[in-house]
Amino acid sequence: MSNAIEVKNLTKTFSIKTIGLFKKIQSSKNKNDKIIALNDITFSVKEGEVVGIIGHNGSGKTTLLQTIAGLYTPDSGNITVNGSLAPVLQIGSGFQPELRATENIMIYGMLLGLSKNEIKDKITPIMEYAELEQFSDLKLKHFSSGMQSRLAVSIVFQLNPDILLLDEILAVGDSDFNKKCFETFISLTKKNKTILVSTHSLNLLPLFCDRVLLIDKGKLITISSPDEAVKKFNDLMTSNKN
């Protein structure tokens, strides 16, 4: 089985910038401050494999997904992606609040690579899946954040990409929708989709992940079985507390 994603020696840093002329003068001694978000990370994901990403808040999980998605340019290293890719990052943030739900589905779907006709056919199933049929003509600004997340997840589940990059989508909506979402996610894992998913739901990892990648302070600690990765994560938390 060939690799769907290959990441080699990936390093990504962010500059801390001082905005404002007077602040710049004040802080001129501390210029060129940088945060290392990802530090020399190497791993690969095979076609059809489901890999979880765990780590503390700010450990680099989202940055890793955003860099693989092409949203950030690496400082060094290489990323190879073989297949069509759909990222679901910062869920629902691409929506336009002044547009109706159906118009947002149209734009969001087309931005993710569907044609106008393809997405037109999917509007009803998307609204039904999100359980928001009665709100089709309502502007997004009147949706709660939970409703917006449900809509975003529903759009992505109607797409058919080879590779899915998912950032914290397993805690969307109320408990019923969450359960439905999880069942759909499980069905996707059985359709030979390659999935890279970051989550804080450690107890769910063994249910759908083939392997789990643990990141801490931008460094890859391990990529191993879910149980082993969770154990290392817990050890890390304990040592950090001490």
Partner: protein, 259 residues
């Protein structure tokens, strides 16, 4: 990837059109007069300037109303186009941070939205001519040419301003001042034949002023402008387009993290 404006996003024609139409819709959402503002805004500026200059009675020539109105319409399209183009990346921060799409999509979509508005405004300008008892000549058929040059200029400036706006937010204030100045240094309410010195020198390097003057020759004088004027203005506008595009491509890599 080809180093040529627009070419790399031609495969997104459907999305560009859909996005531009919905942007147009969003622009007037929540206002009472909605789409009518497209017409009212330049007409109000026209009425104000027409009242002032005819009242002062300095250098007003035949067909001054159409001269003024056509200048204002072009100025208005340019101002609105460049301001919208400048904000095009920052306004779509949510999309840029969640979906990998060519960054140049946004200034192009913004220019496309303005193109739709430009067609409406120019149509209204032509429609108003009989009210001012103006009889257009056959050269009016050439109007699409200065409009195309204006839209290319807007696209070039949108590339340039949108990328600067990512790194230096002050450009928003600076550009607002510049477009106000352009109202006075472009041949909108004054005639090139009546000015000299600094104002004439500024006009020679003012691409908007050059396009407005081409338009005046076509509409008011009923003349086909000299070929050299066309060549100079076209090359100037294309140079701005490629300069804007080159800077955009050079600095687009860090857009997401700067946002």
């Amino acid at each position: 990837m080809v180093f040529f404006p627009i070419v790399n996003i031609l495969n997104k024609k459907g999305l560009l059109i859909e996005f531009s139409i919905l942007s147009l819709k969003m622009r007037y959402t929540g206002t009472y007069l909605g789409f009518l503002w497209t017409i009212i805004e330049p007409l109000l500026i026209f009425l104000l300037l027409h009242t002032v200059f005819t009242g002062m009675n300095i250098g007003v020539k035949d067909n001054f109303a159409i001269y003024l109105l056509s200048g204002i319409v072009f100025y208005h399209i340019f101002t609105r186009g460049t301001l919208a183009g400048m904000a095009s990346l920052r306004e779509n921060i949510g999309i840029l941070k969640s979906i990998n799409i060519q960054r140049e999509f946004f200034p192009v979509a913004s220019t496309l939205t303005i193109s739709i508005l430009a067609i409406i405004e120019i149509t209204i300008l032509v429609g108003l001519m009989p009210i001012f008892q103006f009889v257009p000549s056959l050269t009016m058929l050439l109007i699409p040419l200065p409009v195309i040059l204006l839209l290319i200029l807007i696209l070039g400036m949108s590339y340039l301003l949108s990328i600067i706006h990512i790194y230096i937010k002050d450009i928003q204030t600076i550009w607002s001042i510049i477009v106000q100045a352009l109202l006075f240094v472009s041949p909108i309410f004054w005639y090139i034949s009546d000015v000299s010195g600094l104002l004439l020198n500024i006009q020679s390097i003012n691409p908007l002023g050059q396009i407005i003057e081409l338009n005046h020759q076509i509409i008011i004088l009923g003349q086909i402008p000299p070929i050299l004027d066309w060549v100079y203005t076209s090359l100037y506008v294309l140079a701005i387009l490629f300069l804007g595009y080159a800077l955009f491509k050079k600095y687009e890599k860090k857009i997401t993290e700067e946002l």
